[in-house]
């Protein structure tokens, strides 16, 4: 029995300007993870932040997991700076309760932005148990759309939408979702993963139809194991902890407004750090350019 202490990056791909895919060695997590679970990643032990990231895929034979993330702040930027062959010091997981997979009948999986990444293993599992699988993928613009090929290979039906109409249908994901709810047969279950505002409106779309809607929440978190309480959300009037009670909840019961406000707790600090981070990156680029110019 060998427990690895570092996580080598075996492949890295930039999917768009802000979206990266990292495949890293994490054999125990690759073996144990189930759809719906996530990991906590920390670049190094000294001063780096612990951030929750979803697991997009895993290969238990090669002992790797794949994470897709967007550079939204300092910590994700620093993670994106790592190259193939370099190491991430700390990855903890798999965390959270696995998705409840069942043969519901007709399942609609809705993915927004990088939410399509954690949606993929769930869609896979839903398909595997014999559900009729409809996937709706949405993004702000064509460039930010991910997982299209993978989902196309999996789904019985695939709908692609972009906010600006640069690819697929020009619509928000809630439009085709509403049409599916109005059609016959109605979906038996909807799984929506994406930005909080998208999940909120997906839940509002299905609510009048009484269709079970699962959402996966990504909140502020430190330990991810049920100790800090930072990830608490109000679900059906009760306080729940995303790390141990979730990350998936009944979308019709989640207080999204409170959750979004809680997510903004460090916004000002983060924005400042993010800007500084961008400045630093520009400086680095300028220096590199200079060096290239004057060898």
């Amino acid at each position: 029995m060998v427990f690895p202490s570092m996580h080598k990056i075996v492949s890295k791909k930039q999917l768009s300007e802000e979206v990266f895919r990292l495949t890293v060695e994490a054999p125990l997590i690759a073996e144990a993870r189930k759809p719906g679970q996530f990991v906590i990643v920390q670049r190094d032990s000294d001063y780096a932040e612990r951030i929750p990231l979803t697991i997009a895929d895993a290969d238990p034979l090669r002992g790797t997991i794949t994470m897709i993330f967007q550079t939204v702040g300092k910590s994700t930027h620093k993670l994106a700076e790592l190259k193939e062959g370099e190491y991430i010091q700390n990855i903890l997981g798999p965390l959270g309760r696995p998705t409840h997979i069942e043969r519901f009948g007709r399942v609609v999986c809705v993915g927004g932005g990088i939410g399509s990444a954690p949606l993929y293993p769930i869609a896979q599992a839903m398909k595997q148990v014999g559900n009729y699988l409809i996937v709706i993928l949405g993004a702000r613009t064509k460039e930010l759309l991910i997982m299209e090929e993978e989902m196309r290979a999996l789904a019985d039906e695939l709908v692609v939408v972009t906010d600006d109409g640069s690819y697929g249908r020009k619509a928000l994901v809630t439009e085709p979702l509403k049409e599916l709810c109005q059609a016959s047969p109605k979906p038996d279950c909807v799984v929506a993963i994406g930005p909080p505002i998208m999940m909120k409106f997906c839940a509002e779309t299905t609510r009048p139809f009484g269709i079970k809607t699962i959402v996966s929440l990504n909140t502020i978190m430190i330990d991810g194991t049920g100790m800090c309480g930072g990830c608490r959300v109000s679900v059906g009037g009760e306080t729940k902890f995303v790390c141990v009670d979730g990350p998936e909840f009944d979308g019709h019961l989640v207080d999204f407004n409170n959750m979004m406000l809680r997510l903004s707790a460090y916004k000002e600090i983060e924005q400042k750090a993010h800007e500084e981070c961008h400045l630093e990156m520009q400086l680095k680029e300028m220096e590199t350019a200079k060096r290239k110019g004057n060898p």
């Binding site: 029995m1 427990f3 202490s5 125990l28 997590i29 144990a32 679970q37 920390q42 032990s45 000294d46 001063y47 780096a48 932040e49 612990r50 300092k74 910590s75 620093k78 010091q89 700390n90 990855i91 903890l92 997981g93 798999p94 965390l95 309760r97 430190i222 330990d223 194991t225 049920g226 100790m227 800090c228 309480g229 930072g230 608490r232 959300v233 109000s234 306080t239 902890f241 141990v244 009670d245 207080d255 409170n258 406000l261 809680r262 903004s264 707790a265 460090y266 600090i269 983060e270 750090a273």
Partner: protein, 478 residues
């Protein structure tokens, strides 16, 4: 002047004034993270050690959770034999530098000290904890780290879950007996509450790291980023990974909240979160740490225990202008250590006794702007013998704050329950054990906060040691 070269009579010993612990000036330390209490000088330690009457019946030993030979180690300090003093300490407690700092001696060993009783003032008891700390620090500054001898390998393997006080104490005892010990820690650094919870200014992290280094030199393996129940199940550890026994010392779990309106507003934190950001994630080091901490100028801390004191004093250091500790009983009933309360007061923390939060108020962006409290008075004694606080109707009033830290304890940890239904727990979710520390699951033992609820470092260590003894017996009986 006392002639300390000849044998002193008890009367002479009682006449030596209790030695005060030097500390950083409150106005200076309230803006730094460095340790508050500075430790005895050699001369002070000598004088304090001479105050010990060396009682034959040693009531202090009986009231020490790990039964340290207290008169023994103090006598060695009195004679200047610090190395010997430390060996005596280490025989019962592998972590004297930690316990000398964070044990509540005033309710344990020092509470029964004959000197304190003779002088009719418990505060004048021999400062056993400070002497313990002195001996441990002496080694840190002067000696080579002493690694306790380890018996030949038994070929048995024990998994320890959690690297807090219970787990480390169990690991130490089991390693000494020659068992191969692996500690699994969920965080990226070992030490549990001593690393994420107790602040640097009360327990420097370098000290915890050094004590852990002793364990590693004894052959104990530490695996971080490993959450038993998720990364691997208990059953896997026994069946796939070949461990012969398991000790669960996973600690307290989810933080408790008051259940009052406004607790999910932005700016409300559990003490666990606030302290973890500040300590483990080093958020106090704003220039270097990536983990942010909420910028607060007026902070209310709810609760009256040691964790509440830690949170309040941390808030002061992080730049809060006013920090209030809101507690519904009086100072007398507060569970926090007297020393911590005194330190907090010196640093400017404002105590508001006989008040309790009713709701937390937010602005249009859901950010905390105040806390509405009710005033209380003490009524009849309750089941615990403490006078019950009774609210005064109509006494609602608002304290303007921009942050609230809830420090009212923890519920049990839900994860092991979720993933190991075969382990029996009580109605609070704490693991049931028999008097040997054994759980209802074969080969699995438990101790510390996961069994006791919220306890202290030393009680958790005591539980770890008890379970280690049972595990050793079980392994060798096989």
């Amino acid at each position: 002047m006392i002639d300390t070269t000849k044998k002193l009579t008890p009367k002479e010993r009682l006449a030596i004034p209790p030695q005060e612990m030097p500390a950083q000036d409150p106005m200076v330390r309230r803006r730094n993270m460095e340790e508050v209490a500075l430790g005895y000088t050699e001369e002070q330690a000598h004088l304090e050690a001479l105050r010990c009457l060396q009682c034959k019946n040693a009531p202090c030993v009986a009231s020490c959770p790990v039964r340290i030979d207290i008169p023994g180690f103090i006598s060695q300090i009195a004679q200047g034999n610090y190395k010997e003093a430390l060996s005596i300490l280490r025989a019962s407690n592998l972590f004297p530098a930690i316990c000398g700092r964070v044990c509540p001696q005033e309710v344990q060993c020092q509470s029964t000290c004959t000197v304190g009783r003779s002088l009719k003032d418990i505060d004048k008891a021999v400062s056993i904890g400070r002497l313990e700390r002195f001996a441990a620090d002496w080694e840190r500054f002067h000696g080579e780290l002493e690694v306790p001898p380890v018996k030949p390998p038994t070929g048995k393997r024990v998994a320890i879950i959690g690297s807090g006080p219970a787990g480390l104490a169990a690991a130490a005892d089991l390693a000494k007996e020659g068992h191969a010990v692996t500690i699994f820690e969920a965080f990226h650094k070992p030490g549990g509450v001593m690393i994420y919870g107790i602040p640097e200014f009360r327990l420097p992290k370098a000290i915890v790291q050094r004590e852990i280094e002793v364990l590693e030199r004894m052959g104990v393996k530490i695996i971080t980023n490993f959450l038993v129940g998720r990364t691997r199940s208990l059953r896997d550890l026994l069946e796939k990974d070949g461990f012969d026994a398991i000790f669960i010392g996973s600690g307290a779990g989810l933080p408790k909240f008051m259940g009052i309106p406004g607790e999910n507003l932005v700016g409300v934190f559990s003490a666990n979160e606030y302290l973890t950001r500040a300590n483990l994630m080093k958020a106090y080091d704003r220039g270097k740490a990536d983990t942010p901490i909420y910028p607060a100028k007026r902070v209310a801390v709810l609760g009256g225990g040691n964790v509440a004191m830690d949170a309040a004093r941390m808030a002061v250091r992080l730049g809060a202008e006013e920090v209030f500790v809101i507690y519904r009983r009086t100072e007398k009933e507060m569970p926090a250590r007297v020393e911590e309360v005194a330190h907090a007061k010196e640093e400017g923390v404002i105590f508001r006794f006989l008040e309790n939060a009713k709701r937390i108020l937010g602005d249009e962006k859901s950010r905390v702007v105040g806390i509405e409290c009710l005033s209380y008075q003490l009524g009849e004694p309750d089941a615990s013998g403490r006078r019950r606080p009774v609210e005064i109707p109509g006494s609602e009033h608002v304290i303007q704050v921009d942050s609230v830290i809830v420090a009212i304890g923890n519920d049990s940890h839900p994860l092991l329950l979720q993933t190991n239904p075969e382990i029996a727990v009580d109605k609070h979710g704490h693991i049931n054990t028999d008097e040997t520390g054994k759980t209802s699951m074969d080969r699995v033992y438990a101790g510390g906060d996961i069994v006791l609820g919220s306890a202290t470092v030393i009680l958790a260590m005591g539980q770890g040691r008890r379970a280690a003894a049972s595990i050793h017996k079980f392994l060798m009986g096989k």
